[in-house]
């Protein structure tokens, strides 16, 4: 049965600005289905982003939406959540925004374990500015600022999040559309800082420079490299070479920030 996305989209805002074949729209649909599954009220849900292609997402959503400055989404969102802990706060953005200029805010949101969900659309590139390499661009890849191949090693976003203290970390891909909403549902339900990395494609600025002939080829690559965590457990290191593990990668229960601050208030008022 067709899903009514229009219920969550601001009238007149479509079509969106994303290029043909860009997976951001697929991720946004997954997020909408997750919000719907959980029955989150639109006026009690804040969607916060930084700058970049993926960060344009909040503008389409009929919620309390905050399109901030480059990299700062997590810090703005922390202010929203602290001031109004009863709000559902969802962060969205790309890999450059979140792990380069916003890297500091990202790791500290993980460390605080503040109860928000961060959906990071990792397309390995700065798309909006025309395809410069990001901290998630694979070594050797071509970008407009790595004409001879990228000398930088790439971040593993999930490992970064786990290392910094996020208590729920999951990974999916834009190809595996049916899985996206399930991961986001679980992430939002989790009390604490949850990170959902969605491996995404940028046909316009990444695919073109890195010998992908089409959107379909990029989508097929996502299909091929993804290994569900259950399957991965039975695979050898050699078999996992070049693969990316998907599913819920990490989960732990740990006191979350606004609950801890409520205790501070309690102690101060004694």
């Amino acid at each position: 049965m067709s899903f009514d996305y229009d219920k969550y989209i601001r009238p007149g805002k479509l079509p969106h600005i994303w290029c043909p074949g860009c997976g951001h729209g697929i991720v946004m649909k997954g997020m909408i289905r997750a919000i719907d599954t959980l029955g989150l009220k639109k006026e009690e849900t804040a969607i916060v982003s930084g700058i970049g292609c993926a960060s344009r997402l909040p503008g389409y959503m009929d919620c309390c939406t905050l399109h901030t400055a480059h990299g700062r989404a997590a810090a703005f969102a922390t202010g929203v959540k602290m001031a109004k802990p009863e709000m559902n706060v969802i962060l969205v953005g790309g890999d450059g925004d979140g792990t380069a200029i916003g890297g500091n805010h990202f790791i500290h949101a993980c460390r605080r374990n503040i109860d928000m969900t961060y959906i990071i659309m990792n397309n390995n590139i700065y798309g909006m500015t025309g395809g410069q390499f990001s901290p998630c661009t694979p070594t050797g890849a071509k970008a407009s600022t790595t004409p001879y191949g990228n000398p930088d090693p790439a971040f593993d976003v999930a490992k970064l999040a786990i290392g910094a203290g996020a208590t729920f970390v999951a990974r999916g891909t834009a190809y595996h559309a049916t899985q996206i909403d399930k991961l986001i549902v679980e992430a939002i339900q989790h009390k604490g800082f949850s990170v959902v990395e969605i491996l995404d494609d940028c046909p316009t600025t990444y695919g073109r420079r890195n010998k992908f002939k089409s959107v379909i080829e990029m989508m097929n690559r996502l299909k091929e490299i993804a290994v569900p965590i259950k399957a991965a457990e039975k695979m050898s290191a050699e078999q996992l070479e070049g693969k990316v593990i998907t599913g819920v990668l990490y989960k732990e229960e740990r006191p979350h920030y606004t609950a801890e601050y409520a205790k501070v208030i309690e102690r101060a008022q004694k």
Binding site: M1, S2, F3, Y5, I9, L14, P15, H16, W18, C19, P20, G21, C22, G23, H24, G25, I26, K29, A174, Y175, A177, T178, P203, S214, V215, I216, M219
Partner: protein
């Protein structure tokens, strides 16, 4: 008994012509007509919803 066919609505002004729906339809229901997706063989539709789910542009609605 006659098979009840689904409705596949394609919102042409949203479709950006990425081919995803056409390529990943398991039963080849869709085709590109110029720059937009179009229904070629509705009979073959198994209502798997993959085209709607994967359409990045909110351009496809499949109803039973």
């Amino acid at each position: 008994m006659e098979k009840k066919l689904p409705t596949i609505e394609i919102i042409e002004k949203y479709c950006k012509g990425c081919h995803i729906c056409v390529e990943f339809c398991p039963t080849k229901v869709l085709e590109m007509k110029g720059f937009v997706a179009s229904v070629k063989n509705l009979e073959a539709c198994i209502k798997c919803m993959q085209c709607e789910l994967r359409c990045p542009d909110f351009a496809i609605k499949v109803s039973a």
